[in-house]
């Protein structure tokens, strides 16, 4: 607005990346975006570590018997691959990293409700991650990521260090969930009702419920495990009078909701991406929002389906099988609604959209193969085979990680201010899709044929499937590696990103790119959700809302950009102009080390890319 420009003069508020310099300004930051960025780098590093274990174990499985390593080393490979990927990558991937960066901006808020707790969560995550990584030189971990007793009570590997790590990671997750719950409840701007929140916020909200309610059980479980290992009190060890199956109940009481902690945020970002790149409102907003919440609640009731052959009673099996099928219903609703969103759209196959479409197909396969495992009699045959391995990789990797990559490419320009290489991005997203399917489709076949999981040695009959799978894993690994490389390179050589490169309608696209410390230089204007009628493409990767102007600094490539209504959209766009309530709630003075929003910029924001 003209008044804003007159008041602030030509000086532009520095973005959050440049507001302060030095390593200390990152380590002590209370800014949600910086914390999110630190999560992101930790997660990308963990992804490469977990991926390295995956490639090592796939290499070992190239031939029956020993290919490169012995049984014990292989057992460590799959344990560490699972533990790193689950606890360090997939669980915090979308909520802690991207959720932290994007969710408050999407709410039009300056930060999360408890910035210090947010930083504490990050350091808990870091400590937990370090403990898990430290366990590797101290003898690794060979219990499987599931830590089943009594094996984990007897294992000679440093289980104590690892479970302490898991304990801390659990608290990190709980604090993040708590923080997000309060943020979503309290920091929504006036005018944003529950049913005008972006679906991403709904998903993060559903996730946060589960994080807060389920994760304490994980903490208690690993604590009991540690006590039993340390003090030989009989809890899970049958020789001390304990019950090893009890551990499985405890473990899955957390770890089943954990699957939804992984997948629901993915569903949230996919809703955003599909809508934005189809230029269409999401179809059946309420059904999707309700299905997120119902998935979150149902996820607490189905843990027993991991234990159909564990010796659990038939009655329990029957109840858990029935409940398991109820989970299929909201998942199916979402898929149908996403497909319907494409109808009569104007579909732009940018990198995030390619990932979103991959997600649609992969999640469908992951969900449908879950039906096999929910059926009691079929699960008896398929349980603990590669069929299960393939199924949960379709959900956790094919869906969650692909959605994470889509979300990363969707919001990368917003929080880094740089565009990545579109062509490399497309090549890699296709590489991820084909590499992934080549890796895991053969695993369905060999699993149904009776190949058990966690096998170092196998019958030669399965070799062809293992070899296809290994080739696929390398295609996938290579694509992910190149993705990380070009994303990092974009900091140096990427083109400057505009304020709204994809034409998104939610509030984060009104913030400057990258956003300043408190996200908005002026209060964002709430428009109708997922309405793209008055967003117009004014250049390559540059969209503007009709009738609005922004600080010209944002549009280096196009100079003064004033958009005229090229079309005649009939909708009345502006709903309410609001001040985010949070702006008052969060006194800048409390954010001790942060620069004031109106502080002088310490660096030249407009430095050209070298």
């Amino acid at each position: 607005m003209a008044t804003t420009e007159r008041i602030h003069g030509p000086m532009k508020e520095p973005d959050f990346l440049n507001v302060k310099k030095g390593i200390g300004s990152w380590l002590y930051t209370l800014d949600h975006k910086r914390i999110g960025m630190m999560y992101l780098f930790g997660i990308l590093f963990s992804l490469l570590l977990g991926g390295a274990f995956a490639l090592l174990l796939r290499t070992e499985l190239w031939s029956p018997g020993k290919t490169i390593v012995s049984q014990d080393t292989y057992n460590q490979f799959f344990t560490l691959h699972g533990a790193v990927m689950v606890f360090l990558v997939i669980i915090p991937g979308i909520p802690a990293a991207l959720g932290n960066i994007i969710m408050p901006i999407q709410l039009g808020a300056p930060d999360v409700a408890f910035p210090k707790l947010n930083l504490a969560s990050f350091y808990l995550w870091t400590s937990g991650a370090l403990l898990l990584v430290i366990a590797i030189p101290f003898g690794g971990l060979d219990t499987g990521w599931t830590l089943y007793t009594p094996y984990s009570l007897e294992s000679k590997t440093p289980v104590l260090i690892a479970v302490l790590g898991v304990f801390l990671l659990g608290f990190s997750s709980i604090f993040t969930g708590l923080n997000f719950l309060v943020t979503i409840h309290k920091f929504r701007p006036q005018g944003m009702s529950w049913f005008s929140m972006p679906l991403n916020i709904w998903a993060i909200y559903a996730t946060a419920i589960m994080q807060v309610l389920a994760t304490p059980v994980l903490g208690i479980t690993v604590l009991l495990l540690a006590v039993e290992r340390f003090a030989h009190i009989g809890i899970f060890d049958p020789t001390l009078g304990g019950d090893p199956v009890l551990f499985q109940h405890f473990f899955w009481f957390y770890s089943h909701p954990a699957v939804y902690i992984m997948i629901i945020p993915a569903m949230g970002v996919i809703s955003e991406i599909l809508s934005t790149f189809s230029r269409k409102p999401i179809f059946g907003y309420r059904f999707i929002a309700y299905s997120s919440i119902s998935l979150a609640l149902l996820s607490f009731l189905v843990w027993g389906h991991h234990m159909f052959v564990s010796g659990q009673s038939r009655l329990a099996n029957m109840v858990f099988s029935a409940l398991t099928f109820t989970v299929g219903i909201p998942a199916a609703i979402k898929v149908f609604n996403w497909v319907a969103t494409l109808y009569k759209g104007d579909i732009r196959l940018k990198v995030p959209m390619l990932y979103a479409l991959s997600f649609l197909l992969l999640f469908t396969i992951g969900g449908l193969t879950g039906l096999f495992l929910g059926i009691l009699s079929v699960d008896v045959h398929l349980h603990d085979t590669y069929f299960v391995v393939a199924h949960f990789h379709y959900v956790m990797m094919g869906s969650t990680l692909v959605a994470f990559l889509g979300a990363l490419h969707h919001w990368w320009p917003k929080f880094t201010g740089r565009m990545y290489s579109e062509s490399l991005g497309k090549v890699c997203s296709i590489g991820v899709f084909f590499g992934f399917n080549l890796t895991f489709l053969p695993q369905f076949v060999m699993g149904a044929r009776g190949m058990p999981r966690r096998y170092w040695d196998y019958d030669p009959q399965y070799q062809i499937f293992h070899q296809l799978s290994t080739i696929g894993a390398f295609v996938l690994g290579m694509s992910l590696f190149i993705t990380v490389i070009y994303l990092m390179a974009s900091f140096k050589i990427g083109k400057k990103a505009t304020r709204n490169p994809w034409g998104g309608s939610s509030l984060e696209w009104q913030a400057p790119t990258p956003p300043p410390l408190y996200n908005f230089e002026k209060p964002p204007v709430l428009h109708e959700l997922y309405n793209y009628d008055d967003l117009v493409e004014v250049g390559e990767n540059d969209w503007q809302r009709i009738g609005e102007t922004y600080d010209p600094d944002d549009h280096d490539d196009h100079g003064e950009a004033h958009v005229e209504a090229k079309t005649a959209p009939a909708a009345e766009p502006v709903a309410a102009k609001v001040e985010p309530v949070a702006a008052k709630a969060d006194d800048p003075k409390e954010s001790a080390d942060e620069a004031k929003p109106d502080a002088k910029p310490e660096a030249d924001d407009n430095k050209e890319p070298s």
Binding site: V245, R314, D346, S377
Partner: protein, 560 residues
Amino acid sequence: MSSPRKRLSRGARVLVAIGLSASLTSILAFSLFQGTANAQPTGSAGSGTPAGSGTPTPMPMPTPTTGSGSAVLEAGSGSAAAGSGSAAAGSGSAVDTGSGSAGSGSAATVPVAPVAPVGGKPPATKITVVPCGKTPSKVIVKAGDGAREYGFSLAITDPKRDPALHPNDVEVNDIIEFQLGGSVNVIPDTSSDPNLEAPAGKTTCVSVNGEGVFGFHSSTNIRGKFIAKPWYTRLAERKVEDDNGGTFWMPRAVNSAADGSDQMFYAVFALSAFFFIAIAVAVIYLVVKYRHRPGHRAEKSATHNDALEITWTIIPTIICVFLFWYGWRSYIHVVTPPTAAVEISVTAQRWTWEFRHSNGVKDVDLHVPVGKPVRLVMTSTDVLHSFYAPVLRVKQDIIPRRYTYAWFDPQKPGTYRLNCAEYCGTNHSQMGINSEGRRAVVVVHEPGKYERYLADKQALESNMAPDALGRMLYEKKGCNACHSIDGSARIGPSFYKDFGTMVPLASGGPVKMDENYIRESVLAPQAKARPGYPASMPSFEGSLKEAEIEGIIAFIKSLK
């Protein structure tokens, strides 16, 4: 937001129609699958994999004589019954060339080894010189004067060989025929087998009436050995037949109790394929049709449609109810054994199986009769394991200090894969592997053979030479998981050529490896532990009889 439309749009109507037809199709599919109880699963016949379909054993190793003990035991039933039994089995598994002879040769065979008197104490394992005669059940060893087509140099142990093909193996009571050239004598390696001597220039036939390893060498110092094994072990060593008569997706179905499970698999497969293809086609069609291109813009359409959305909520709900219900119905069948079942006790331990039968016979392989329900009562001595035989579609975790159960009704004789499906540590993928690299299997016996197995095995176990008993225990008790017998490194020290040597101790000071040291190490493994090995060996106090400890000592002694 625009108000919900009263009337479904054209696209919505198409989607509703697809959804309804899908649910109808699936319900129809279930009723059909459920209706045809014994029908073959879809596409089973044509799509079977060729892998290993009845590869005949290259070596035309003649199979079973009934043997001395069994001949006596079978006297009542008569050889005709045995013959007809195998004929029936032959028609059942036409591809199985090897097993066709199992039993059929027995009728013609003259028992050659000394017959144990009924009720009397059976003689110890020994080698007997027998008349050669024209009989199919013999192994020919040729040597000398350039004629060395089989035996001797070929008979050197190669641990990586396919056990089913190994030329060392002979069946108990097989006739081993030495066809020796002019200047070659055969001399036994140990003085306990004097009958293994065969003079130069002559044809000599010997037979052995029990399990054991028999080393010999020629006067030209070519070494060889043969390993005598009973018929049921030879059966267990055959290539597993899981993929004979299976489909692309599933191995052969052997357990009639699990037919419902297979029908569910294929029904859900059809349903999933339908939905996946429908969704994939819809996504691709919509993406191509509404892709962005110059001049193309998004069109207005409903942002939601309650009727449509309720439809596609109800359809999955109906499908899920059906899936659950038929899953439960077929499952309750899989877990409810009939009252009259052959009961077998199972003990799983790292990393071997022990199957105990009604008459006390123990084995690492699971031998069961065809056509009779079998119930397993299972427990573990250490960590979790899981009994999993893919052809039976049976899987059940095995829990320490608790019994879990499984049952099945095997319908097709054969040798099948047996796996541990719950991660149990180092050798999880090789549960029950023996020193020859063969993993434990499930053997479904042709009619009548299971009873013979029980009797023969019991007879053999009671007259086993101490070192043969020791070898059997070495494999059955899982010693082989950690201790090699050829000097190669494993988790524990190798037994090879150790006896009588001075071995170093972790607590300092070497000790002579004698009978007492072995005894102590079996009963209290950590008392005099060797350096450089983890303290992971359990004590066998109470689980080994005195004679069995002696057997292990004799076995270790024999490894020179």
